[in-house]
């Protein structure tokens, strides 16, 4: 079990680092936002893994909250971009 978990942790960690690369690289803002969004999801994944690793379900709630709200950040960014696009 712990081997499986460790592999999972490993994969998610790798995914996180990759996302950070995208965050660093950009080039455009939407790229960074996608990276942020993905980090949020990966964090949810991490928490789920951690739940299993610790045999505690209490952390799940935090993951749910993140899942629920993480979306708002992305939408906010999108709105920002659209306001910029407004013909002026």
């Amino acid at each position: 079990m712990s081997v499986v978990l460790n592999i999972c942790f490993g994969m998610l960690s790798l995914a996180m680092l990759i996302s950070v690369i995208r965050l660093v690289r950009g080039p455009s803002l939407p790229d960074r936002v996608v990276a942020l969004d993905l980090v949020g999801v990966l964090v949810v994944g991490m928490i789920i893994l951690y739940d299993v690793a610790t045999q505690l379900a209490v952390f799940l709630d935090a993951a749910i909250v993140l899942a629920l709200v993480g979306f708002a950040g992305t939408v906010a960014f999108a709105k920002y971009l659209e306001r910029r696009a407004r013909p002026d």
């Binding site: 709630d61 709200v69 708002a72 939408v75 999108a78 407004r86």
Partner: protein, 133 residues
């Protein structure tokens, strides 16, 4: 500018869900992770979504109550929960617990509701005002 129909429609479903969850988080907070803060923030996030999907004016309409009043009510709730202790002859904020339908109900819950309301009120005041810029 034309707003996204897809987002608007999704918001209609998502917001009640967020709101429901916020209340869950609020009331469960005493025993499990959560509480007035996270609950209030969740609810506020929900309404912020509404602002993005539609606009601040319709979000205000949808809320129906002045955000300042929500804050005021929240502060009053928190204060009231404190007064209960005073009125019962103990120190300010001394808790008092009773039972209601098998559930333990006490002034700290009222306090938490106060927190919840203030958080919603203040966050929304901020977000609405900013969105109206």
């Amino acid at each position: 500018m034309r707003r996204s129909l897809i987002l608007q429609t999704a918001a209609r479903y998502l917001i009640p869900l967020l709101f429901l969850f916020s209340i869950i988080v609020l009331f469960r907070g005493h025993n499990l992770p959560g509480g007035g803060f996270s609950g209030g923030l969740l609810a506020a996030t929900g309404f912020s979504l509404y602002v993005f999907a539609f606009d601040a004016a319709s979000a205000r309409r949808a809320l129906g109550v002045d955000t300042h009043a929500i804050m005021g009510a929240g502060l009053l709730c928190a204060l009231l929960s404190g007064f209960v202790g005073l009125l019962r002859g103990s120190a300010f904020l001394t808790s008092w617990w009773g039972a209601l339908g098998g559930e333990a109900v006490g002034t700290p819950i009222l306090f938490d509701i106060g927190v919840y309301l203030v958080v919603i009120g203040s966050t929304l005041t901020t977000v609405f005002a900013l969105a109206e810029e």
